[in-house]
């Protein structure tokens, strides 16, 4: 990476109704900017400003020769494969603009194996001191979104963690399709249950919808500070959306390094 000639563009979904949707993406951008790894670090969003179309006009300095585009998305899917390339006018993994600047399209953050580590770390952090062999881990995803592979990615993560044999059980659950997160107590046997939302940002799903389905009476951002919740005879630990973890900034940087290795390999 050349800090004086490389720039980073982080792409988020954003929202026209949820003020928290773009917060993690902006935080990761600010964090990476502070590390001085890139000449410039910017965000762009599908549903917020600046738009993906605006982003085509960023990085005007002649000194910037390459722009890394990293989708802050939990999985490959409709947005990473159709919307982002179309709106940014990317022709493939590497696009050369009229001014000679190279735009390198990286894989979404969710594809990086560090995500598995972060899921594990988060599980241990929100339930400190409890015995993993007496604990079930549930990774919850939405499940029915158009062309979205987040359910597949969530399954892959559960498999990887299960293979480590640390927890009594590791499973997937969904909001709108079986196995339903509402049945969390039937999906698990252990006395302790950890639930981690497999989303890029907090919002209505993680503040309200999932807590309701879990049977947590209070909703809102404070619920993450009230672990464990004693419900249905179990100790339930409920985590924030995985994408709010500040270490996602490391993943974003990693994705640029991985893309560079790929595009410069041959």
């Amino acid at each position: 990476m050349n800090p004086s000639s490389s720039a980073l563009l982080i792409i988020g979904h954003g929202s026209t109704v949820n003020p928290d949707s773009s917060v993690p993406t902006r935080r990761h951008a600010a964090e990476i900017q502070n590390r001085n790894l890139f000449a410039d670090v910017r965000c762009a969003f599908w549903k917020e400003e600046p738009s993906l179309r605006d982003a085509r006009f960023f990085f005007a300095d002649r000194t910037i020769r390459e722009v890394f585009v990293v989708p802050n998305f939990i999985s490959e899917g409709y947005f990473t494969q159709t919307v982002i390339p179309r709106e940014l006018e990317l022709k493939g993994p590497v696009t050369t603009r009229a001014n000679g600047q190279t735009w390198i399209y990286c894989e979404p953050v969710g594809n990086n194996p560090i995500v598995t580590k972060l899921l594990l770390t988060r599980a241990h952090e929100i339930a400190p001191g409890i015995e993993p062999t007496e604990t079930a881990l549930l990774i919850v995803a939405h499940g029915t979104e158009l062309n979205d592979n987040s359910a597949i990615a969530a399954k892959r993560e559960a498999e990887r963690i299960r293979a480590r044999g640390e927890f009594a059980s590791v499973g997937n659950a969904y909001m709108e399709e079986p196995p339903l997160i509402a049945n969390w107590d039937q999906l698990t046997n252990a006395p302790n249950v950890i639930v981690v939302p497999f989303f890029i940002a907090d919002g209505l799903h993680s503040y309200e919808d999932i807590p309701k389905l879990l049977g947590i009476e209070r909703t809102g951002p404070e619920i993450f500070r009230e672990n464990p919740h004693q419900i249905r005879g179990r100790s339930l630990y409920y985590a924030k959306a995985i994408g709010t973890d500040p270490r996602f900034a490391d993943i974003i940087v990693e994705q640029t390094l991985n893309a560079r290795n790929l595009t410069h390999a041959g």
């Binding site: 929202s15 026209t16 109704v17 949820n18 003020p19 902006r26 410039d40 762009a44 599908w46 549903k47 917020e48 400003e49 600046p50 738009s51 179309r53 605006d54 982003a55 006009f57 960023f58 005007a60 300095d61 409709y78 159709t82 919307v83 179309r86 158009l146 062309n147």
Partner: protein, 218 residues
């Protein structure tokens, strides 16, 4: 210094110090930003450059602002910026992307995209938006993008490749980068709209859907 910062510096030293609802003034050691209607007030809350994102997020009634160029910027604050880099960062948080687009425009390299082209490009749930009629576009854009209550950007895009104006309901000033969209006739840095935003595309879709629902009703 990055290009848009250089541009900002030259504009502000040339005394063009308004952008949208923002007033930017030169102080001894930097820049002061506040709401245009708060100029001269002494009871403004002192804020940091990093607070700008939050300032832009909610209006005076604490409602979320999905469109940052809507004329609903909250009042009662001022931000001190040490240099043009910090000032640009604050402006970019309040009006995201606008300085970069302006810089491209000033350099004669800004390409605009007609509304029909934007709509025809959509996929998924937005594909249906392309079915909107020209008459509906005229009415919708005339209301949705209007500077008094809708959006403070100057529209540079056309309705279609025939270069039709987006809406006959909007005054000529809406398409003039030299005009003050706040209607005060002051010299301003324009907030440019080079292509219909996602909110307008969504509104086109809603209009098509609504008509579909109305015509299939018994």
């Amino acid at each position: 210094m990055k290009e848009p910062e250089r541009l900002l510096e030259s504009l502000v030293t040339g005394k063009i110090s308004r952008i949208g609802q923002l007033e930017i003034s030169l102080s001894e050691n930097g820049f002061i930003l506040c709401h245009r209607e708060d100029v001269g007030r002494i009871d403004l809350q002192q804020c940091q450059v990093d607070d700008a994102v939050e300032i832009a997020k909610f209006d005076d009634k604490d409602r979320y602002r999905p469109l940052k160029t809507a004329p609903t910027l909250r009042r009662g604050w001022k931000i001190f910026a040490n240099n043009s880099e910090e000032a640009s960062r604050a402006i970019d948080a309040i009006y995201p992307g606008r300085l970069a687009v302006l810089h491209t425009f000033k350099g004669g390299r800004l390409s605009t995209t007609s509304l029909r082209e934007t709509l025809n490009r959509q996929s998924g749930m937005y594909r249906v938006a392309a079915k909107i009629s020209d008459e509906q576009v005229d009415a919708l854009v005339g209301n949705f993008c209007r500077s008094d209550g809708g959006c403070l950007r100057t529209i540079l895009w056309k309705r279609d490749e025939r270069k039709t104006v987006p809406s006959a309901k909007l005054p000529p000033e809406k398409f003039d980068p030299a005009a003050d969209q706040m209607g005060k006739g002051e010299t301003c840095i324009p907030l440019l709209c080079q292509e219909a935003c996602n909110l307008l595309v969504a509104a086109c879709r809603d209009m098509v859907k609504m008509e579909g629902a109305a015509s299939s009703a018994p």
